[in-house]
């Protein structure tokens, strides 16, 4: 399986502040993803990347931006955090042999 690490694991932030979550993978995978998980909604795709500097929107992209300047790193930024963005965020990468592999998640609370 791919080695994927997310940081931070937990974060509490105030409404209106910018927040950046980091995802780092060591498998040289081209494709990476950010999902959020909420009760009653399951896992929903926020943004994904199909290469360095190549990104696209998922189904719940409003209020989020991403950047991928290196193959191994995929950053998710909340420009101005809102309470509706309180969630658990998962990063994933895709490999031809194993499909998707997820990181351990980041629990974000916006107060």
């Amino acid at each position: 399986d791919a080695g994927i690490t997310q940081s931070p694991r937990h974060k509490v932030t105030e409404t209106g502040t910018p927040v950046t979550l980091r995802c780092h993978q060591t498998e040289n995978h081209r494709y990476m993803y950010w999902y959020r998980q909420d009760p009653g909604h399951g896992l929903r795709l926020i943004h994904y990347s199909y290469g360095v500097k190549d990104t696209d929107k998922g189904e719940v992209s409003d209020g989020y931006s991403v950047s991928r300047s290196k193959t191994e790193d995929f950053l998710l930024t909340l420009e101005s955090a809102t309470s509706s963005q309180t969630s658990v965020y998962f990063c994933a990468s895709w490999g031809r042999d194993y499909g998707y592999t997820f990181g351990s998640g980041t629990r974000l609370t916006v107060v």
Binding site: L43, G99, Y100
Partner: protein
């Protein structure tokens, strides 16, 4: 877009029992995966199985792509099997669509 439905939504069993979880998907896919979300929230990749049958210990999975369904079998359940099982489907490396999950509780 692809829709993924899982059944049953909840399943409560005694340790040692066997179970079958089902996943139906609405369109042709070439990526089908099963994940286990443990009580600590980690998403563990169980099977990458766009077609055919695979086995890993007490777990096995079968996908019949032409009939648009996949089954996950758990034999001789243990309490550590508890958690939520997700099926997800998509086209290759493209956006994976998740079902709502089956919550499995294994009682000692």
């Amino acid at each position: 877009g692809i829709q993924v439905e899982q059944s049953p939504p909840d399943l409560i069993l005694q340790e040692g029992a066997n179970s079958t979880l089902r996943c139906n998907f609405s369109d042709s896919v070439n990526n089908l995966q099963w994940f286990h979300q443990n009580p600590w929230g980690q998403l563990i990749n169980l099977f990458y199985i766009p077609s055919g049958t695979k086995q890993n210990g007490r777990l096995s999975a079968t996908t019949v792509a032409t009939e648009r369904y996949s089954l996950l079998y758990i034999s001789s359940s243990q309490t550590t099997d508890s958690g939520v099982y997700f099926c997800a489907a998509g086209e290759g490396a493209q956006k994976l669509v998740f079902g709502q999950g089956t919550r499995l509780t294994i009682n000692p």
